[in-house]
Amino acid sequence: MLIDFRFKALDPIRNNVNWILRPLEYVMMMPRNAFESTSEYFTTRSTLDQENQVMKVRQAELSLLANQSEFLMVENQNLRELMALQKQVPFKTLPVEILFNPPNPISQRIVINRGSNDGLKLGNPIANDSGILGQVVRLYDRSAEVSLLEDRDFAVPVQVARNGLRAAVFGAGRGNPLELRYLPVASDLEVGDILLTSGIDGIYPPGFAVAVISKIERNADKNSSNVFCVPVAAVNRYRQALALLYDPQFDAKAPVNNKSATGTPSTNTPGRRQTRARGMQ
């Protein structure tokens, strides 16, 4: 136990046991899947019709948005190039299915049906259509374990959508609201603010919704505020999700040759530490 806790050295054993165990798990998932598929089969025609209608409207809206967003993205990349900022890294998505929720009193995890053989990497975020669900914490060949947002001390760097204030959301254990920690009393937060991933950690792509602030307790004596929020994505509801294969390379850029016309020496004089320009993503 100690070896596993400190060194993570037993993962090969785990992978082998998993290789034996996974078929049995699939067998035991069959009754539930059969039950779900039959109940889906018996949904009435009118329900399906209604759903179809809603879906069509939604799809029209989304395709319009998608066209627009592509245009905006190209424009954004061009502007970034003009400003000599680092470009936004595009990412691929991989559809995954949530297999089951292992019974474990200490952590909140799910097991998904894609693993290292499908190109998944340790630390890849998992999201569904509304927001971030969690992050891959343990990889097998054909499956992976994902830590959910609700998991205790699970941290996501976020940005308040309204004013760009940066913070970190922490999980507080199962069924408890998420917390925004380390924020002073005077910080500009309101109930209902949406928190997006800020993307400064290099793990989560920027701009995905994570949580909504639900309650703020300001504590003027200690100059701290307890901010509670609810995850945007329904963490324990759906079976389908997307893995975001996002791998930005944060390399230092080549120094910009900015000898200006007035003849001032460049900033890279000897003895001066070479630093990156501020404000890079």
Binding site: L2, D4, R32, P105, S107, G173
Partner: protein, 174 residues
């Protein structure tokens, strides 16, 4: 072996039935019910039962291997269930002479601490390793209570093949 409940001598046990029941219990544990603290751990019930009644067939080593499988399934630290299952198997084997002679209900009362040990061991081990105690996870005690309540049923089901009469007279049943 004497069945202390009825006073009859039981039929010899079939090892295939033992391993089949352990396998079924493992499958029941793999059911995707969800992360609920109260769902009984069928495997530990089965292991403890066979440890008490037939400790020659189901030993500490069997408990260890099955515990390893549960660790991987539950995404726990590797060895958490393996250790607690083998500890419990040891305790059950060393108590088996005393426990078999009791009535079923008092057997269940005696086994409650064993089940409590299994349910609360992961929480305690995590407490020792990382230093924070998950109070919420202590509801695993409910699981132990449910397992103790299931003990009479387990006795009935798992001893049924051995309680069959030896020669059945078809002309005069009973």
């Amino acid at each position: 072996m004497i069945d202390f409940q009825s006073g009859y001598i039981l039929r010899p046990v079939n090892p295939v039935f033992i391993y089949f029941s352990l396998f079924c219990a493992l499958l029941l544990n793999l059911l995707p019910i969800g992360n609920y603290g109260w769902v009984p751990d069928w495997l530990v019930l089965c292991i403890v039962f066979w440890n008490i009644h037939q400790h020659r067939y189901v030993s500490v080593i069997t408990a260890f291997i099955l515990g390893l499988m549960m660790d991987v399934h539950n995404s726990d630290l590797l060895g958490l269930h393996a250790f607690s299952y083998s500890l419990v198997a040891y305790v059950a084997i060393s108590w088996h002479r005393r426990i078999v002679a009791l009535t079923v209900l008092s057997q269940a009362m005696h086994l409650l601490p064993i089940f409590l040990l299994v349910s609360l061991f992961p929480v305690l081990a995590h407490w020792l390793l990382s230093g924070d105690l998950y109070w919420w996870a202590l509801t695993g005690a409910i699981q132990a209570l449910i397992e103790a309540m299931l003990w009479p049923i387990a006795t009935r089901v798992l001893l049924a093949p051995q309680r069959r009469p030896i020669d059945v007279d078809h002309n005069r049943p009973l």
